[in-house]
Amino acid sequence: MNPDVTTTVPGNGYEQRNEEWRRALYEAAAEVFEMMVGEPVSLQEDTAAAPGATDTTAMVGLAGALCGVLSIRCTTSSAAGIASKMLGEPVQSTECIEQQLDALGEICNMVAGNFKARVEGLREQCMLSVPTVITGQDYCLHSLADNDRLEVALLFQGNPIVLRLEIHG
């Protein structure tokens, strides 16, 4: 497993941490999809190859020993697919928008919780916000803190899902 990662911070310590954290991110997401969605995700080796057409973004804030934002981006169609699998009934991408957003927000929440449980020192010392979900592509997310950023690209039912951890401190 060698998920691609984008980071702006040089140095061996950061590289080692990033390697551990991107593996933890992937393992956390894989377990959540396996157990709660009932369908696996696979790694997309190159994040640059992930299409930029994702239009649904769920975010969970982290505060404490790790401050940052974990986000999951996917298409509306993928969000509908996730909601359908979780509910065990068809959810059309043009209908039941609230269920799609709810499902993706909950997935993001569980991935964040599962991620911090896998990283030493975070389980007890890091709190999660309730999820926020944004629809549409025409937005920019700005942080006032210097950011380090990890990305892991996944495929769900052949469509891209991008995990991003913005690290603020």
């Binding site: 377990e31 157990m35 979780m86 499902a103 909950e106 929440n109 569980m110 919780g113 599962n114 999660l128």
Partner: protein, 127 residues
């Protein structure tokens, strides 16, 4: 385990449906399922509806699960009712706090239907 009246408290409607499905898959016959999206709603529901089982998330807006469990102590309808926390927040401190406040168990998200069965069924049998 027939005719169980369950209260499921979670800010995610999708998660509430999954929990209900897991309870049914565990062989629990539910005569009523009450839903609430936060602790305050949960208190309002239980004020008017006796239940046999409460499952609650911890991390919720308005009133979180720990405050909900604390406030349940004043509810006559919650007296002796087993409470199980279902949460992504798996820190020992929170788990210990929930158990101290009266919860009988906790389930970490993500979970399997079998894990729900293992945690919930013994509580109903003991009851």
């Amino acid at each position: 385990m027939a005719n169980i009246r369950a209260l499921i408290v979670d800010d995610s409607s999708v998660m509430r449906k999954i929990v209900e499905r897991c309870l049914r898959q565990a062989g629990i016959t539910l005569s009523a399922v009450f839903e609430a999206s936060n602790g305050a709603e949960g208190l309002a529901v239980i004020g008017n509806n006796p239940v046999d089982l409460i499952l609650s998330d911890i991390n919720m807006p308005v009133m979180d699960g720990l405050e909900f469990v604390t406030n349940l102590q004043a509810s006559a309808n919650a007296k002796g009712v087993p409470i199980v926390m279902i949460t992504t927040e798996g820190g020992e401190a929170q788990v210990t706090q929930a158990l101290t406040l009266g919860a009988k168990g906790y389930i970490r998200k993500p979970f399997t239907p079998d894990q729900v069965r293992q945690h919930v069924v013994p509580l109903l049998r003991a009851d």
